[in-house]
Amino acid sequence: MISSGDTAWMLVATALVMLMTPGLALFYGGLVRSKNVLGTMMQSFICLGLVSILWIAYGYSLAFGGDVGGIIGTFQWIGFKGVGNEAGPYSDTIPHLLFAAFQLMFAIITPALITGAFAERMKFSGFLLFVILWSTLVYLPVCHWVWGGGWLGRLGALDFAGGTVIHVNSGTGALVAALIIGRRKGYKTQAIYPHNLPLTVLGASLLWFGWFGFNAGSALAANGTATLAFFTTQVATGTAALSWILAEKIIRGKPTTLGAVSGAVAGLVAITPAAGFVGPVSAIIIGFVAGILCYLAVLLKERLGYDDSLDVVAVHGIGGLWGALATGLFASVGASGLFFGNAHQLLIQIIGAGSAIIYSGIVTTIILLGLKYTVGLRVSEEEEIQGLDVSQHNETGYAIR
């Protein structure tokens, strides 16, 4: 029976997750040079439109409608046929349509996360095609595996709010994208400054706020599990902000604001799969490790020299991987991890994250190489110097008049 309490909460949670994508646009927008601020924000923002259409057309059905061999859904809900205000099948207390809307917001932000890897050099047309193909061929299957009745869910993989489906998945896609699209012109030879860090702080704050919908909403009800997820999200995130700047202080000498907000996002990512399965003290440990680990991953990127421009791999890939494994270590509420007597759970988590990495890695490679040799991925060198705002959209973010 539909519960008005659960429905009210899930409507709010859905709106909170929606807000994360514009939050991400601000987070990324502040990190690029001023000539690319609109082009970068646009890549996140337009996913709100593009993925919504895909979701209704066939996306929701392929992710959540029925099952073919544990791999993918069916076409039974194509065009949202049969998806209405009746309860179920994924929750007995909220309308089916609301569940589909909540899941849509996750499908929107996942490809938007990847845009940080190819910031400041991707052609808008190539980008749109990439989002359509990646959402269809990578997001929908992996989402189905874990949440839509697919093989990973049946195996017992724990992913409370999308550590594997969203963060490991997009982080892997980001690594492939950074490698195939190549470095920005001037990377490592000239200084490339973030043009507006206050915008980035605002974006990170909106991400944090929206993430309460993301994690606590994943309980699909206004109940104790949602409350636990809400609380673990808060402490893991705060701890990770601190541990990132602690690592910075030790390694580089000064704690930075960008470090604090990057650490917060790393903490949000890491607690995502664990949010409803762990206690508050475990959440502190998960957050603490996330802040340090993701910072070290950023430093490693500098050593390796690939241009994952806004550190999607380090924050979402590594943070997501840590979160997936940490869930297998610290789970104690409604499931048990290694530290609570169930070593098998860790093995399942490794299989879950590992298969997402392999699948996303291979399919993202095929998609990007296919686009590279047909419509093209990069803007011309002249357009790159001019900036995406003028070259892709005929406008500029800031005008002095």
Binding site: Y193, K254, L258
Partner: protein, 112 residues
């Protein structure tokens, strides 16, 4: 007539202006500039990326004075802009061929 250009530390601008006004200077042009001399820049860190910032913000003052006033003005700038630390800046003095006041068409010292 001489043109005096002084590169100074930005936080000394008010002192320099007051000192020169006290000497009877009636106008100046001020520009925010960046550059480097012997003073080292600083390091900026954005996540993993570390940048050495070599160009330091400075203020450039331009004033035009009758030749007789040059020594006084230079002494005034020295008094007001000097901190004794590296990076205090420099003063450049050059000969100036002509000055024209646009409103009246006056030239030479009358136009300064």
């Amino acid at each position: 007539m001489k043109k005096i250009e002084a590169i100074i530390k930005p936080f000394r601008l008010d002192e320099v202006k007051e000192e020169l006004q006290a000497l009877g200077i009636t106008g100046m042009t001020v520009t925010e500039v960046k550059g480097f001399g012997r003073q080292k820049g600083h390091k900026e860190v954005y996540r993993g990326a570390e940048y050495q910032v070599d160009f330091i913000p400075k203020i450039k003052i331009e004033i035009i004075v009758p030749s007789a006033m040059v020594d006084g003005v230079v002494q005034g700038i020295l008094r007001s802009a000097k901190t004794g630390k590296i990076g205090d800046g420099k003063i450049f003095i050059s000969a100036l061929e002509e000055v024209v006041r646009i409103r009246t068409g006056e030239t030479g010292d009358d136009a300064v």
